[in-house]
Amino acid sequence: MRSGTKPALYLLAALVAAQLAGVEGCDISLPSGERAIDVPGLAVLIVYESGQTLPKEQQAILTSAQWTALVPPGNYRVLDQNSEFATDSPWKTAMQRPRTQLPHLIVSSDKGNYEGPLPADTAAMVAKVQEYQ
């Protein structure tokens, strides 16, 4: 194998994984114990584009207390894709993970990680968060 081929294969694998996550959403296999959002406990990150008008069902997710009430205080963020970070943080790192669509959802806990499209409505969002509680 030529020098440089292996990294290219790893990149291809990562792109395929990201594409899978983008199309259907899936439980991403990170190295054992690694969290997509590196904070203790259940953590949720929604990345969206604030200049995009969403269907009302998805729009409601961004401001609904129905799912945020399930997450420990301080353990969720709902951020525009262009948000700036004043300091390094686990949220900044999570924002830099590959994604193929907006709005994008990451749920992370001891049970694993979900990375993929934002569910269609609040009920589905609550169910997704409960999966990782």
Binding site: R77, D80, S83, A86
Partner: protein
């Protein structure tokens, strides 16, 4: 409690559209009026109105306490709402600090378009380094400036004057609007689009203290033409501390 106001409508001849730093034209796809009622009902049912965000996060109405700084309070309150929506750490942000620095400690009226460039560039300190309603030049310290710099707000929408469709689209999209109301000489932070029958209005968050208001939470309803604001702006992206 004093019911001070302080809103001075923007002079568009002196300050034409597109000339305020850190603002950009409102570019959200308009939500047609035919959809407003359905979206209002849905957000209410899902407890996903901005007023629900304020309640769920325990945000208290600010109090300008006699100072003519409604325009800074409206701006900073919109920022507080957006921060809460984003799940960011609660901070007691000092609107007085913004207004006092812009106006050179004069008790002068103003406009959110005065506040936006300052907030975008310098941020807003908390009560820790600048207690609300304190007018003291000794508060301008490096510590205060460093703290404020963690809350700069990068992008704002400049909306067309009197355009209710833009305001409705913004509120229905979970973005608070700073509205300047000529009939009151007052600037406030609009939270929700509301309706009764075929009339639309806004639920707005005032800066006259937390015990003031129709619902004991500092909010008031404005209906029909009184809900139309001449100057209007909306925060888009908050810097994440």
């Amino acid at each position: 409690m004093s019911h001070a106001t302080g809103y001075i409508p923007r002079d568009y001849k002196a300050q034409p559209r597109g000339t305020v730093a850190f603002t950009s034209p409102f570019d959200l796809k308009p939500i047609p009026k035919s959809e407003w009622k359905g979206r209002i009902d849905y957000l209410k049912e899902q407890k996903a109105r901005l007023s629900d965000v304020v309640t769920a996060n325990g945000l208290k109405a600010s109090d300008q306490n006699g100072l003519p700084y409604c325009w800074a309070h409206g701006t900073v309150n919109a920022m507080r709402v957006l921060r809460a929506k984003e799940g960011q750490l609660y901070l007691d942000l000092s609107a007085t600090a913004v207004a006092a620095q812009i106006k050179g400690f004069r008790e002068s009226g103003g406009n959110t378009f005065d506040a936006i460039p300052h907030v975008a560039k310098h941020g807003v300190p908390t009560f820790k380094t600048w207690p609300q309603n304190k007018m003291d030049r000794s508060l301008v310290t490096e510590e205060m400036k460093d703290e404020a710099s963690l809350t700069t707000l990068k992008e704002w929408y400049e909306m067309e004057p009197n355009d209710m469709e833009m305001k409705a689209t913004s509120l229905l999209s979970g973005i608070p609007v700073i509205g300047g109301y000529s009939h009151m000489g007052h600037m406030m932070c609009d939270l929700d689009l509301i309706y009764k029958g075929d009339e639309f209005g806004v639920l707005t968050w005032n800066s006259w203290g937390e015990t003031w208001g129709n619902f004991g939470n500092g909010t008031m309803e404005l209906w029909g033409r009184k809900a139309v604001s001449f100057d209007q702006a909306a925060p888009r992206v908050v810097r994440v501390a």
